[in-house]
């Protein structure tokens, strides 16, 4: 989280933190386990009123930021989402709103509904890996006169069960097209998947010759590669900020535990072996804050090092965040892997985010590409 938020940003963050603490306390989240949606519609609308949905959209199109860098402001919400393991389609809805906002006039009504919290979106990006058991043909987005035809399977897709709109990123020949598809369009079939997270819902989405008007394309047909790349960077920034919040919650819980828990007549926090592990974890968590915030700033300002910083953030927080969570579980002992303890609520969120939008290994590979490009020239 930002080291030195402005008074406006701090007020904004605090408002969201209080709202989440009241509306979705840990026991409330546990109860949502069997809720098919994972969150309530009125909860999301109230969040939209707090400003969760409009930060990446210009004022001209109904949005607005606090600092002039809406993505940086949004990391404060994402951080609190992580700290509370909060439910709701924060990432996909903001991704869709940002992209629609860039072409505001073309999708005014849709955008207004997203900003007001009346509608939510899912971003259909990932596809089963070729050669895997679930492999399918890649999603094709074909232009057919004044219509667009979408075919293929996307999985996993977050929040699609509750979404009104699907933002589908797929191939048009060698190019990329982004298109909006109503979830209830004919030919959209949704198969729910089991989820690592208590409240986050995922599904596989099958598009069987789904036809929508050409006006549903965001940007131009075949002209969506840059928008998709930008959306992915944004998604990683949100995901990293949220993970850092979740890791902070895990770490704080465990520090408190180390002070409170006595064994052999002394608190865990007095054992040098554990103190040194806490020192390592404190370093990882501060480093995670640092790289997440730096990447957010770089993406928000379209800095030339944004790609590299985003990869570093995603790779580091995924790798070291996992280690932090596991070490905190270890220090808790058996209670740390029970459903009744709060630890897993945050551990799940961090684990879910680790695998989405590129694993640590994939981002290390990309970093190697960037290093090579720079050093070989």
């Amino acid at each position: 989280m930002l080291l030195d938020p402005s008074p406006d940003q701090e007020f904004f963050r605090d408002t969201t933190a209080r709202f989440l603490a009241e509306r979705v306390p840990p026991d409330g989240i546990r109860r949502l386990r069997d809720d098919p949606d994972g969150f309530a519609a009125d909860y999301w609308r109230a969040g939209a009123e707090l400003g969760w949905t409009g930060l990446l959209v210009d004022e001209d199109h109904g949005g607005g930021s606090l600092s002039g860098l809406g993505l940086v402001d949004l990391t404060l919400v994402a951080h609190e989402f992580g700290r509370h393991a909060a439910p709701g389609p924060l990432c996909p809805t903001n991704i869709a709103a940002e992209m629609l906002g860039r072409y505001g006039k073309d999708h005014e009504e849709t955008l207004a509904a997203l900003l007001a919290g009346r509608a939510t979106a899912a971003w259909c990006l990932d596809e089963p890996r070729a050669g895997s058991r679930t492999a399918t043909a890649p999603v094709e987005i074909r232009i057919d006169g004044d219509e667009v035809v979408v075919t293929g399977t996307k999985r996993p897709v977050e929040a699609v069960i509750t979404a009104d709109l699907l933002l589908v990123t797929g191939r048009t020949g060698q190019d990329v097209t982004n298109v909006l598809v109503p979830r209830d369009a004919q030919g959209v079939n949704i198969t729910p998947l089991r989820s690592i997270d208590v409240t986050r819902r995922y599904a596989a989405v099958h598009f069987d010759e789904v036809r929508v008007p050409l006006s549903s394309v965001v940007g131009g047909p075949g002209g969506g590669a840059d928008d998709a790349a930008r959306a992915r960077r944004t998604a990683i920034v949100i995901s990293c900020a949220e993970s850092v919040g979740a890791l902070q919650a895990v770490f704080d819980l465990t520090v408190a535990w180390a002070f409170d828990r006595y064994s052999f007549g002394r608190p865990l926090a007095s054992y040098q072996e554990l103190k040194h592990r806490f020192a390592d974890m404190k370093t990882w968590i501060e480093a995670s804050h640092a790289i997440a915030d730096r990447a957010a700033g770089a993406v928000a300002t379209s800095s030339s090092d944004a790609d590299e910083l985003v990869c570093a953030a995603k790779a580091y927080i995924g790798q070291y965040g996992s280690e932090l969570v596991q070490d905190c579980i270890q220090i808790h002992g058996g209670i740390g892997v029970t459903y009744e303890h709060d630890l897993h609520l945050y551990a799940r969120r961090a684990a879910a985010n680790r695998s989405g939008f590129g694993t640590p290994a994939e981002h290390r590979a990309r970093l190697a590409d960037i290093v090579e490009l720079r050093e070989a020239s």
Binding site: V255, K282, E308, R364, A365
Partner: protein
């Protein structure tokens, strides 16, 4: 105490104007840096003659910077500095990227020595030494560690005894960098053996080029002779060269070590952004992977990606801690977080470099290019976790001073230092 030391309310030159002036001056006066200069870990220097020539060149650059108004950008004007805000030093560092600079003067002369002088020196001491440092006339080193104790710096046994208006110092100091070509030293010495260890220390300033200071150069396993050990035999120091109060040397020492931990983000150092000691290791690591023929190997590429990840995260953390300490959102103790990260990351990068080399890391000749000597670098790896305060001490500081966990039981509280058990003296 905050590190931002600007005393200048009337800054007349804008950052952009300053940048333009810095760029023109650097371009006209400095050579492009040799990117091969700082590869590896404490590799043997050139010959002594070449080393001395490099030191002379660095003194000359420092003098030229002083004459051009670029020395001591964040030092107060009354001591020859520029009294400018920190942003000006950052701009200068950015413009200096890719150029030679007085690297040997940054640590320990500017940080921690000059920083400590600024904080604790009398008016007379500061006027005598700070301008001379800024002109490159005085190179300083720090006499802190001793052969009898590593991390336990306050257990110093080098002793200062009062003799009229003077003090007489006897003892030995170790791990001093470049003492054989330096001019002055800050020295932590024991002035009272009959009080607990932290309460009987005093700091002195000692000229090094005198017969009673014998400098011995230590050969590292890599062949480097950069580190030294000094033997002090009846060194006479006037009381006017005492820094801080008598027996209050630990107050000075604490800040001394704080400045040392913060050197990379100190307003008092001039370190080019992006290259040089302490900046990107990527050109070097890429060259190793390239010369080892491993750029197409996914295993090596994963390591290269890991290296860049760690480096970017380390830099980001350093910025965060530096800003946090400067703005008081973090305590001074948070410097230990950056120190731990830097030790762990730098040593990992050395391992990655060695990993690239396959069998040639253990047996090479100069035709191997960047692969050569990586095995020796690897043997020197732990230097990153030892020099400047061990990572174990950093872990203690983070858990106890940052997280507030119970402190390790002290075995020497309220005992006169004379009675505290000590290592057997080396025979």
């Amino acid at each position: 105490m905050a590190l931002d030391t600007s005393d200048r309310a009337d800054v007349t030159e804008t950052l952009d104007e300053f940048r333009a002036r810095a760029r023109a001056w650097i371009d006209a006066n400095l050579e492009r840096s040799d990117s091969a200069a700082y590869i590896g870990v404490l590799r043997p220097e050139a010959s002594d003659e070449e080393e001395l020539a490099l030191v002379r060149r660095e003194r000359d650059i420092q003098r030229a910077m002083f004459d051009a108004g670029f020395a001591g950008i964040c030092f107060p004007r009354e001591y020859g500095g520029q009294g400018l805000p920190r942003a000006y030093q950052q701009v200068f560092d950015e413009e200096l990227a890719g150029y030679e600079y007085p690297s040997r003067l940054q640590v320990p002369t500017f940080v921690p020595c000059a920083a400590v002088l600024l904080e604790f020196g009398t008016e007379e001491q500061k006027r005598r030494h700070i301008p001379a440092i800024l002109k490159g006339e005085e190179l300083w080193m720090q006499m802190l560690s001793e052969p009898s104790g590593g991390s336990d710096v306050a257990a110093a046994v080098t002793t200062a005894v009062r003799d009229g208006e003077d003090w007489i110092l006897n003892g030995s100091k170790i791990w001093t960098t470049g003492a054989w070509w330096s001019d002055w030293a800050l020295c932590l010495a024991r002035t009272d053996w009959d009080v607990p260890k932290n309460r009987g220390l005093t700091v002195f300033m000692i000229p090094l080029k005198q017969p009673s200071v014998e400098v011995h150069r230590i050969e590292m396993l890599s062949g480097s002779k950069e580190f030294c050990q000094e033997f002090l035999t009846d060194v006479r120091v006037p009381d006017s060269d005492r820094l801080g109060e008598v027996d209050d040397g630990w107050t000075v020492g604490t800040r001394w070590m704080f400045h040392e931990r913060m050197y990379r983000n100190s307003p008092y150092t001039t370190i080019p952004a992006g290259v040089s000691r302490g900046a990107s290791r990527m050109p070097e690591l890429f060259a190793v992977a390239h010369d080892a023929g491993r750029l197409d190997d996914p295993l090596a590429r994963d390591l290269l990606g890991e290296a860049r990840m760690l480096e970017l995260v380390k830099q980001s953390l350093e910025q965060r801690v530096s800003t946090g300490v400067a703005t008081r959102t973090m305590s001074d103790q948070a410097a230990s977080i950056a120190r731990l990260m830097s030790g762990v990351v730098e040593s990992r990068l050395v391992t990655i470099g060695y990993e690239f080399t396959d069998a040639n890391g253990a047996a090479w000749d100069e035709t191997d290019g960047a692969v050569a000597q990586r095995g020796v670098d690897h043997l020197m790896r732990q230097v990153w976790c030892i020099a400047g305060g061990t990572t174990e001490m950093a872990r203690n500081a983070i858990s106890e001073r940052v997280l507030g966990m119970p402190r390790e039981r002290s075995h020497d509280p309220n005992i006169p230092f004379r009675d505290v058990p000590r290592s057997r003296p080396a025979t």
